[in-house]
Subunit: 145 residues, 2 copies
DNA sequence: GTGCCACTTGAAGTCAACTTCAAGTCAAGA
DNA sequence: TCTTGACTTGAAGTTGACTTCAAGTGGCAC
């Protein structure tokens, strides 16, 4: 049995997060030693699973659903594949945007507005064909914080 | 000259967003017709530019900075390229996660925890080697809303 | 001239995933 | 025995990008 600080250490999550996850039903403590929560070592694997889900872009709500629909450690394979497909779409779109960004930068028209490529991109962006990545900027993705 | 609802129609952004953008200094109205803001048609291009930036993952603050550092329509090419590089990293990471997700789903070990691939993934995720895509889930990326 | 209705405002609310805070508790070491 | 300090709690705060709200205004059709 592990106490919360041990789980925090092993999972890399602060205990505030662990308490939050427990409140959300993502993990369970098995008892108390005095005031302190006690966790089974297994919870560390579960937290790794949650971290993977978050990395793949699952929301905590989606992750709960996965757990509910599964036996607790084995996750719905269908859902995994569906998420992989979603990621594929994201990747394609990001690739497109990246390329557009590069050709916009490379375009030597006097104004970006006169660059045919840029106009096309803007038209697409304006029409919502490139819906924004809401939330945190992807720069976060490349910083290991 | 366009009024706010015309700009909204042409840009696809609700007028609340336009007012918000103006407050943030991302766009400017040129006058009033009575109470109503008046915009130059050019603002539609600017909004398209903003939409592109958002799609590429720039925050509104970053976009302001780009405008400040540029002449208003031509954007800092360096910044564009830097963002493209950032997107490259994001894409690589998402690709990795996607593949991990697929091999986890395909793995026929009795438990995911016994799948060597899955264990590796979880270890990486747990160690923060795959920092989460915070904010909105990428599913948003594939829905054209 | 008068009523409609799209606009105006600042302030407050929303969402997700946490973090921070203030106040309290309790096992354990000196 | 008493202090220490890591834990506990619920509530409130944070961030970014907006949206929603309540109350007010004014051009324009009738």
């Amino acid at each position: 049995m592990l106490d919360i600080s041990e789980v925090a250490k092993r999972s890399g999550q602060p205990s505030s997060t662990l308490r939050y996850y427990e409140k959300r039903g993502l993990i369970q403590s098995v008892g108390r030693r005095g005031l302190k929560r006690t966790f089974e070592p297994q919870v560390v694997d579960r937290l790794a699973l949650i971290a993977l889900g978050r990395a793949a872009g699952f929301s905590l709500t989606e992750i709960s659903a996965l757990f509910t629909r599964s036996d607790g450690l084995n996750v719905d394979r269908e859902a995994l594949l569906a998420k992989a497909d979603e990621l594929d779409k994201s990747i394609k779109r990001l690739t497109q945007i990246r390329d557009d960004l590069r050709s916009s930068a490379a375009c030597d028209a006097p104004s970006h507005l006169e660059c045919p490529n840029f106009r096309r991109v803007m038209k697409a962006a304006g029409k919502g064909l490139i819906p924004p990545l809401k939330g945190e900027s992807p720069s976060r993705l490349s910083t290991s914080d």
